[in-house]
Symmetry: C2
Subunit: 212 residues, 2 copies
Amino acid sequence: MTKACPFAAPSGYIRPVNYSSPACRKACLHRGRQRIVAIGDRSAGRFRGGRFDQGVTPTKHSSEEIVMTTTDDENQIRTLINRWAEAACSGDLDRVMACYAPDVVAFDAIVALQFRGVDAYRKHWEYCMGFAPGDMLFTIPEMNISVGGDIAYCHFLVSCGCTDEKGNEQTGWMRGTVCLRRLKGQWRIAHEHYSAPFDPESMKALTDLEPE
Amino acid sequence: MTKACPFAAPSGYIRPVNYSSPACRKACLHRGRQRIVAIGDRSAGRFRGGRFDQGVTPTKHSSEEIVMTTTDDENQIRTLINRWAEAACSGDLDRVMACYAPDVVAFDAIVALQFRGVDAYRKHWEYCMGFAPGDMLFTIPEMNISVGGDIAYCHFLVSCGCTDEKGNEQTGWMRGTVCLRRLKGQWRIAHEHYSAPFDPESMKALTDLEPE
């Protein structure tokens, strides 16, 4: 029997609905019945020659260099994360793992401090697949991407969820930071950090917060 | 009367000792009686022209550019984080905040999803200063730094703690990701993400984990 997803009705839940974490995204991989994935393209800011602005014009990246336009890199990174999310929703773990650098260091929202390397992280994904009450929802309405040479980072709030056994959506907000590097011309996730903040009084994850 | 630091003896603590978070680091700022700060200089890897290695020789950063040696940038970033930590321990909030870019986006371990801009984040620091049972310990034994042009990121496990009212050390491990950009020649923290993972069954922060 499949274990119940802890995010569908976790014990000690501050509000008993409206949440699942990125871990739940993984947890629901093997269901693969739903592919609702939305990655926003509204960057809060784009890095341009030492400052942030909203422009898209190719520009000198710094005083020493001229690189591929940041917009091209941003699009490639957005495509990578879309592919990663689509692979996650379709339960294609191999495609998910192909998005990572071999020596990825991951700080996931649950269970452990870190996972070092794709083999260790794959096991964690497989572990998370044991939880799966229903299908998945995963939305990043706004992503902030910064690129410099062959590295990049982005951060975002992610609305992540599952549908439970009754078909009700369980979604909530988490924080995501993804750091990338370009390997043989392809962007790969070298580090990622997902989390929920916690209440310092109860020590419980704050899973019902909404972006302001 | 000063509020008790929630990290010293939080309710629902899985193990009632051996923990305080980066938030506790902030919480203890105003004590300023202890300045024990250790930032490791053992990079797990250094970014060099599209790959990680352990070398320190100046090198071309990518096919398009020659930039300041990564080691110089790494040292500047390490110096910045040292300065930030020392300022935190000495209770010098102005010096702490000077380490951030004006439009910093922070994902802190407690209370809220995010803090946008130095004004909002400063208020959070001030809020955290309300908790302060004792002095502070803050150690990053190993820091992984990657630099590309005018941006950089680093990630680490941080042993963070306070001394409680009885003088006992309360330390524990958290995860930290710090993303930076160079502004007018100076590295500044543009984004940071601190967290503890949580137990998906109890929904409680896992504050007693040790690095493997």
